[in-house]
Symmetry: C2
Subunit: 458 residues, 2 copies
Amino acid sequence: MANEKIPYKIYLEESEMPKQWYNVRADMKKKPAPLLNPSTGKPVTAEELSRVFCEELVKQELDDTSAYIDIPEEIREFYKMYRPSPVVRAYCLEKQLDTPAKIYYKFEGNNTSGSHKLNSAIAQAYYAKQQGLKGVTTETGAGQWGTALSMACSYFGLDCQVYMVKCSYEQKPFRREVMRTYGASITPSPSETTGVGRKILEEFPDTKGSLGCAISEAVEAASAQEGYRYVLGSVLSQVLLHQTVIGLEAKTALEKYGVKPDIIIGCAGGGSNLGGLISPFMGEKLRGEADYRFIAVEPASCPSLTRGKYVYDFCDTGKVCPLQKMYTLGSSFMPSANHAGGLRYHGMSSVLSELYDQGLMEAVSVEQTSVFAAAQQFARVEGILPAPESSHAIRVAIDEALRCKETGEEKNILFGLTGTGYFDMYAYAAFNDGKMGDYIPTDEEIAVSLGRIPNIGD
Amino acid sequence: MANEKIPYKIYLEESEMPKQWYNVRADMKKKPAPLLNPSTGKPVTAEELSRVFCEELVKQELDDTSAYIDIPEEIREFYKMYRPSPVVRAYCLEKQLDTPAKIYYKFEGNNTSGSHKLNSAIAQAYYAKQQGLKGVTTETGAGQWGTALSMACSYFGLDCQVYMVKCSYEQKPFRREVMRTYGASITPSPSETTGVGRKILEEFPDTKGSLGCAISEAVEAASAQEGYRYVLGSVLSQVLLHQTVIGLEAKTALEKYGVKPDIIIGCAGGGSNLGGLISPFMGEKLRGEADYRFIAVEPASCPSLTRGKYVYDFCDTGKVCPLQKMYTLGSSFMPSANHAGGLRYHGMSSVLSELYDQGLMEAVSVEQTSVFAAAQQFARVEGILPAPESSHAIRVAIDEALRCKETGEEKNILFGLTGTGYFDMYAYAAFNDGKMGDYIPTDEEIAVSLGRIPNIGD
């Protein structure tokens, strides 16, 4: 182990950090389908989107031709506080698995937000500040996005209003306090502060909320206040764009040591981390310069890619956001209370959906208990306590490494370790106590929510 | 900011990591006083200590002449999983304070244990493994040490039995689950598993325990089991020795950029982090090669250096451990429920006590609410959410930087950021809600516990 030339952690110099984000849509021959205005059924215009999102972010959202977009200097300065993040060679895990495969992971948990979400949060906060806004609104479920956005807003002196799904608000008081420490105001959703919230509370006074409802409240709150816009932590193409710092750094780091990954694995909820990790490699594949296997890993409890339909659907349950063509289980699909809150989303990024539809990426779904078994195994030898979301990628990386053990292949496996699990100890407790279950929706359940998808677009 | 030559984070290469620990006692003309056997009043022998501690660790504990001690290859391999840790230039904090001072911090929170404790935990686990032991026992209060030791034992396949102060066990279920995830067994202390525990429970059935009691239980449990020894996370000279990786790395990193710190600041509970950070610099001072100001920061609620007495005292309330000459408030001193659990210890490392007594180091005490105000200020601009313990050093670093603002001096300030506060959100919540108080023991209270110190030794 000691004689290997590749260090445990490959750190780049600050000067090697990417100066531009990479927009994979520019290299796609068949582009992702445009967002549609739900009332007209026509592609949404920049002007329409600008009522909800910051102007510069709208440009990025709609731009599917520019391959590279400059990262503003101020954002790069902030990135330097916690980036470049390391690519870690999982020597200890390899040894334990006794596999000829070489396992690498890009670790995005080394910042207080605890996940990769900060990469896009700081960009979105920056553009809001540039536009002269007072603040932003958003929703958060598991709390990683809300935490990241709170940090970013604190840095730029922006007001940050977070609608936190009520059950998370109550079950994750520590997440809430982290956000408050960064100066954000947190409202349990549904709330009395919005029309949508009041309506839902009237109908279901005991509801513990949902991500869809919190999105609708945050969007309403943004439009109701002068100088506010709404921001979102995943699904959107702009978010994937910002997250390409993950893949760009990973590629540069591995190239320094002459390593070409054979398999690249990431967990997939809305797609922000996976899209960010694979984009630069996918670009090479699209341009015919190299080939890679890409694997999206989703929870068996919320299998949008592996069991969903590729159609236009609503992004939120309140149906206030544009329609997006994506792999979806239907916006009425209610995933079980899986502990990977960040992967409980009914749809998938339109970019990743299109790449998957073109057969350029694979997808697998894995069950919760097998994910936590992988998480525990990983933690005990590699030290890092992974987030439940990230552990989906660990599960499949271990499975692929064990396959290499059978075949004797010395494959290079790269996976994204998106964050840490410090705020997910309830879930670990359930696993440690043998009280964790698995939930796989039946074909009938999925058919019902798929049946409710509106018949709009192509 | 962008034109500065010093990066935000100074990372060393793996090859620049220290290969030896530095033993500051070797350069002290007047050595720390020896540990005494409480029953004989004479210096404790290696043989006596070996009944409680691993043999190699006993050697390190008693060795006050070897300046450098080799770090075994296996420990260095483990260190590579999370070291070298960065020295961060606090550009954002400097800007916010508008100070001419240059602030650097050595960040030890980038590992799952969340603190510097892992540096010694892995060393102690390694020597236990080398000795062919089955496992180790320990106590934990705040949980940082227990977490670090659980990780280290998991890595070496050792059994790890942690006696966790009952109130922490109940109030910090997440810490407990992290340890369980790493395979440790956790017993709330006092417990029915030891004689000491049963005796205390009989007398005080409702007690929530104390660190002193947990130590006594852990020591008893180690002696009661074949192939077990007891390990401790602070206070001892062996622990300070292992922790010198902090100071050695910090010194190398700063020297690469030609930076000589004027002031070096660390929080002080038992002294493990402070001792580790300052030792290499103190060595230069002792040898007359350079001069530095060293500041130990302790909580006003548990001010062993600033208000204690320099005498022989018990290290634990059960009085089973050797007597140590140290600054102490008396082993019967009951510190208030300050949120910096890691600084609630009645005594101080004998090495630091002696250095302080010789006037080579300063000490200040700070109040809890001012510490959390500094923590919040730091988090909002530097991103990292600091542990309450570490925030004591932040408080004084900010105070010194503001002093430089008044005088116009461009001092270099280095402080130790020992860990993250993810598991301390109850404390942050109290601060966020304006419900945090300060507690300063009265002279009478301190006099009472000082009066109970046995009159042993010189």
